[in-house]
Symmetry: C2
Subunit: 220 residues, 2 copies
DNA sequence: GGCTTTATTTTGATTAGTCAAATTCTTATC
DNA sequence: GATAAGAATTTGACTAATCAAAATAAAGCC
């Protein structure tokens, strides 16, 4: 059985490799896990000797098929738990990430399956992040972000990546949750600033960096 | 923050001290936690230096007020989780103990309070074990067991102590769950055997040791 | 192409929790 | 009250995960 430390390393490598094949640097991995780089190196070596990752010395790390399977399991648990906390326990979508971070390592498959059924087998969590299936399939659809989409077109927010409470509370305050309708009124690359127009007529300004965390699709 | 190992030691000391003041032996504690006695000694010394227990060298260990507070918190989490698994996720009361054992160390107060409210602030879990309040109060009522109660009187099962799946499945198969009505038809101390009569007319035989795990009150 | 900056890896220590086996204490028994 | 049996403790060793700081490799720059 993988320890929760191992699970966290694998999950983080999956998230940082964006999709699948990119090598993840020790620096990024260490930062994401809040450890010093030397610790990440040590741990990655041990994951490699367990066949969970390929370590390309001094160049980065990549999940093996076995590691990916474990990582997707953790992600599934995390996202189903978040959905449960919001849908059943009525917690705020801006605060459930940290809770799920703990519970994801303690919940059994038996409990998870019940939860999944209770929630009606949801395809995405409250942030719009896709939930891997029991078999490890995950929706890999690529979306534009508010930083890259076309201007003026009516849009629907599909997903808010970035789990920090601060950012999510900013999003919530401004009605920028999955499902919300907006369009980009103006994009000033020099100033690094985006101005949104909501259906209510309200405008919201945010930085390019922040806008990159909000994924959108054309309003259907 | 107490690690889950520390939480388990404290919880187990509470359970083994039956009520409050009895000293718990290292042998019993080690057996309950599935470690060798030397490990228990080492850990108890460290708990003592943190002010969570009083260690009476070579005689046993007892919780301090601080340790008791922590232990009751763990017990509350455990029992509320068991109740949730049975009441909401419709799991079998004979199998939820092991699940709760893991989740009890990972659930936050915020989530626990929501769960408690969702369940309507239950006083006991599916085994009839009393749930400590948020303030650490626990129902200390003493009940007779099927091994000690008067013969022939109509009884109501209030609680099944002993969490092993085997025992609970035996109880379930024979309708011996909290709330069930029975009376003791015969108690043969020499043979160590008890014979029960259920309201359905069915009789059930069980050993004195097994009977000691089933707590009863006069049927109201 | 040599030098500097930056990232990565290595080395040596530390902490929590554990076991096996040797030692010491308590207690019951004669 | 001495002794044997049983329980508890101590000692030495190990694993997982971590950090600080030294050593090494890679990459960029003039």
């Amino acid at each position: 059985m993988a320890t929760s430390t191992v699970e966290n390393y694998l999950k983080q490598i999956l998230l940082l490799s964006a999709g699948d094949d990119a090598l993840v640097s020790m620096g990024d991995l260490a930062a994401a896990l809040a450890v010093v780089p030397g610790t990440a190196t040590t741990m990655v070596k041990s994951l490699a000797s367990d066949g969970l990752v390929d370590h390309h010395l001094r160049h980065g790390v990549r999940l093996t098929a076995a590691g990916r399977r474990v990582a997707l399991g953790v992600l599934r648990r995390h996202r189903l738990i978040e959905t449960f906390l919001v849908e059943v326990l009525k917690m705020d979508w801006t605060e459930v990430h940290a809770e799920a971070e703990l519970l994801e390592h303690a919940i059994s498959d038996a409990v998870l399956d019940r939860l999944d059924a209770l929630l009606g087998h949801p395809a995405a969590d409250p942030h719009g992040d896709p939930i891997p299936t029991r078999l490890g399939k995950i929706d890999a659809q690529v979306y534009a972000t508010l930083a890259t989409c076309v201007v003026a077109q009516p849009l629907r927010i599909v997903r808010v990546t970035e789990q920090s409470g601060e950012f999510l509370q900013f999003a919530e305050r401004n009605g920028l949750r999955p499902g919300a309708r907006v369009r980009v009124a103006e994009r000033d690359l020099a100033a690094g600033l985006i101005t949104l127009k909501k259906t209510s007529g309200r405008t919201v300004a945010l930085s390019l960096a922040a806008a990159g965390n909000i994924l959108v699709a054309p309003a259907r």
